[in-house]
């Protein structure tokens, strides 16, 4: 856990007081809605279809139990008793009143959380691997660097009015759980030959209507220089990024139009003029940040305790164990994923009661720590294996032990037309229907790893381009239609999915997905050839033929 100090807390409190003043000026009419818009956006407040929506940052996906309880409190006190975890390690509340927003933010400030950097054309909440610090084989804890970047980017005086939003993600593992290749800047922590920590820097990734996979702009930037290098990228973007067309304003378009070599040269020229300046990170600063991350005092425990052996006779426990529990870097411990994708429910939602209960379980079993991942699930990062059976029973009771992590019903979906003013089509009911179709855990297990991503419009908040099966809602003659892509992925082998054919109406989507899955089961070379591997090997044609043969 990272402990906020007086300095961090002061800033958050000053921000709340400023926002209270801004809301007051809006309510009194001194500010027009247009002027207020950019101010509220800088505090995570959107105007949605039905109400204001508050997006709260969970920097690098790490929450303490008091913080999670406070999120539950806000859901209960100011909203309708639930919150929605997003694909960027944020939580959203959909029904907060404008006049109560300052109070909600003040309550959150008491535990050091806030809505800064969650909206507007600024550097957004810095995200990373939800298993940071506990994943086996990790080079080092990427949250140290995420925190340094969080501080660097918060209320940045030069980069709060960029051409467009700007997202940075970091990973320190070979397997990329942070989707760095679809971010404006992706950072992969590496060590050079001297053993120094540094970063491979990728730039220009992103989804939306013009999707791009990020390109490597520099193979290795030593840690001392990471802030100056990021600033050089941002400065080039701030000055030369397009501002004439909102859809061409992301850095990916600038990188594409200039070409990566030319863009890299511009950044290099800028960087060389400032790398030895005030942004150079000295070891004392890094050590100070590192020292404020605390780690549990791990005990020497068995990797195969009696409690687990006894419980494994229960097939439900065994199935959950096989699905939702991952190896930890410390012997005797596990990382437990809590599925927020129960059958028939909107993906990523958690009720206030669930959040409170999870906070209690984190205190009891996971050193008071909770993680949030971009797949819209939660995780308990430090669970002793001997506690797994007891934890499972408790998680099962509150409905977050569905053993579907990484399976076909572990769907990523945006809020869609049920909430969002940008959406063309609904996302949540599609997800709900699919979870019902594939509700049988044995069927889902037999299908194996398969990510479905659903976006209700081209802005791609559900990351449909990189879903193994991607579903994009579009509007045709006032009706909801859906384009289906297959073969996308968001990990270290990130790739955009390929469209299989004409869009299909709302009522057909679940049938089409079933057809695709049946085709896969018939086509796969062996039971352990995953869906994306089969698509890679055979291309989209056999799937397309299957889907459109009868349509």
């Amino acid at each position: 856990m990272y402990a906020y100090d007086e300095i961090d807390r002061t800033l958050v409190n000053e921000r709340v007081s400023e926002f209270r003043d801004q809301v007051q000026r809006r309510l009194s009419g001194e500010l027009t809605e247009d002027e207020f818009k950019s101010l509220r956006l800088m505090n995570g407040v959107y105007l949605q279809l039905h109400a204001y929506m508050l997006r709260v940052a969970i920097p690098y996906g790490t929450l303490s139990s008091p913080q999670l309880r406070k999120l539950a409190h806000v859901a209960r006190r100011y909203d309708r008793g639930y919150g929605h975890f997003t694909t960027r390690q944020n939580i959203q509340y959909n029904w907060i009143k404008l006049s109560e927003l300052p109070d909600a933010l003040e309550d959150l400030a008491a535990v050091g959380i806030h809505g800064m950097q969650t909206s507007g054309n600024c550097i957004r909440n810095i995200t990373t691997d939800q298993w940071a610090g506990v994943a086996p084989g990790e080079i080092e804890d990427p949250r140290i660097w995420a925190e340094i970047l969080r501080q660097y980017s918060t209320l940045h005086p030069e980069f709060s009015f960029l051409p467009r939003k700007f997202k940075i993600a970091i990973t320190a593992s070979d397997h990329d759980r942070a989707a760095i290749k679809i971010h404006d800047i992706g950072l992969r922590i590496r060590k050079n030959e001297q053993g120094e920590t540094g970063f491979e820097v990728l730039v220009g990734g992103g989804l939306g209507r013009t999707p791009f996979i990020g390109k490597t702009i520099k193979q290795f930037v030593v840690h001392r220089d990471i802030l100056s290098y990021v600033e050089a990228i941002l400065r080039v973007y701030n000055q030369y990024g397009r501002r004439d067309n909102i859809y061409k304003a992301r850095i990916k378009i600038l990188v594409h139009e200039l070409g990566i070599e030319k863009f890299a040269q511009e950044v290099e020229d800028e960087w060389l003029q400032m790398r030895d300046g005030v942004l150079a990170l000295d070891d004392a600063v890094v050590e100070d940040i590192r020292s404020r991350f605390s780690y549990p005092a791990y005990q020497k425990l068995s990797d195969n305790p009696d409690e687990m052996k006894a419980a494994s006779a229960d097939p439900r426990f065994a199935m959950w164990l096989g699905n939702s529990v991952a190896p930890h870097r410390v012997t005797g411990y596990s990382i437990v994923t809590l599925s927020l994708k129960p059958v028939g429910m909107p993906p990523g939602d958690a009720t206030a009661e669930q959040m409170d209960a999870i906070a209690d379980l984190a205190d009891k079993y996971s050193s008071g720590e909770i993680r949030v991942g971009h797949e819209q699930n939660l995780a308990l990062p430090n669970v002793a294996k001997r506690d797994l059976p007891a934890l499972w029973r408790a998680l099962d009771k509150i409905g977050v032990a569905t053993p579907n992590v990484n399976l076909i019903t572990d769907i990523i979906a945006c809020p869609g037309l049920d909430y969002c003013s940008l959406a063309n089509a609904r996302s949540i009911p599609i997800a709900q229907e699919l979870t019902k179709r594939f509700a049988d855990p044995d069927l889902a297990n037999m299908i194996g790893k398969l990510h479905i991503n659903i976006s209700g419009c081209i802005n791609a908040c559900g990351h449909h381009h990189v879903g193994h099966i991607g579903i994009l809602g579009v509007e045709k003659n006032n009706e909801e239609f859906y384009q289906i892509t297959i073969g996308g992925r968001a990990d270290e082998q990130a790739e955009m999915g390929t469209l299989i054919g004409p869009a299909v109406p709302y009522a057909d989507v679940a049938d089409v997905v079933e057809d695709i899955v049946e085709a896969y089961l018939a086509l796969r070379a062996r039971p352990d050839e995953t869906f994306v591997e089969t698509v890679k090997r055979l291309g989209v044609t056999p799937f397309k033929e299957r889907v459109y043969a009868t349509r």
Partner: protein, 170 residues
């Protein structure tokens, strides 16, 4: 529009000069970048001060050779959402050592004051009277800053290290 300088509302001693108007020898004038660059030598014979309004889509490298002769650089925010002039301001102050007046013009609203101060602006052509009056109060709203800029405020990183040094007595 009220002009805020040194934290107070002041009267503007500069008059805008149209591109086709005659340049008098005396008086303080603000002229466009295009007019200025057409004949920078014209300033040499002036007794009054000269300021230049520099557009936010023109590289400031073209202005840098002339900084010594200019008393005011006015950077432009066509909309408060267009943040290019923040980069220009920091480059002028921090890289090119410009010490003259740096004026923010265009849609300058109170909620940008702190960002502008941090980027090196010292004079503000404020849109609204009420914002101008609130300047001093708004400018003090924040006491914590994470990023080092040329404004010299101690960053959170440095404040922490200083505190530690106090505690350990080193």
């Amino acid at each position: 529009m009220p002009l805020v300088k040194g934290g107070k509302i002041v009267s503007d001693t500069y008059a805008g000069l149209a591109d086709d108007a005659e340049l008098a020898s005396g008086g303080n004038v603000l002229m466009s970048a295009a007019r200025f660059l057409a004949d920078p030598a014209a300033l040499a014979v002036r007794s009054g001060q000269t300021g230049v309004v520099w557009p936010n889509n023109r590289d400031i490298d073209d202005l840098v050779p002339h900084l010594a002769e200019i008393a005011v650089v006015a950077l432009v925010f066509p909309s408060f959402r267009d943040g290019r002039a923040y980069s220009q301001a920091r480059l002028l102050r921090e890289r090119h050592g410009y010490r003259g007046e740096l004026r923010a013009t265009g849609q300058v609203l109170r909620d940008q004051f702190v960002f502008m101060l941090r980027a090196g602006f010292d004079t503000f052509d404020v849109r609204k009277e009420s914002d101008a009056k609130a300047f001093a109060q708004v400018a003090e709203r924040y006491s914590v800053f994470y990023q080092p800029t040329g404004d010299g405020r101690a960053t959170a990183f440095r404040q922490r290290l200083a505190r530690q040094a106090e505690v350990t007595g080193s």
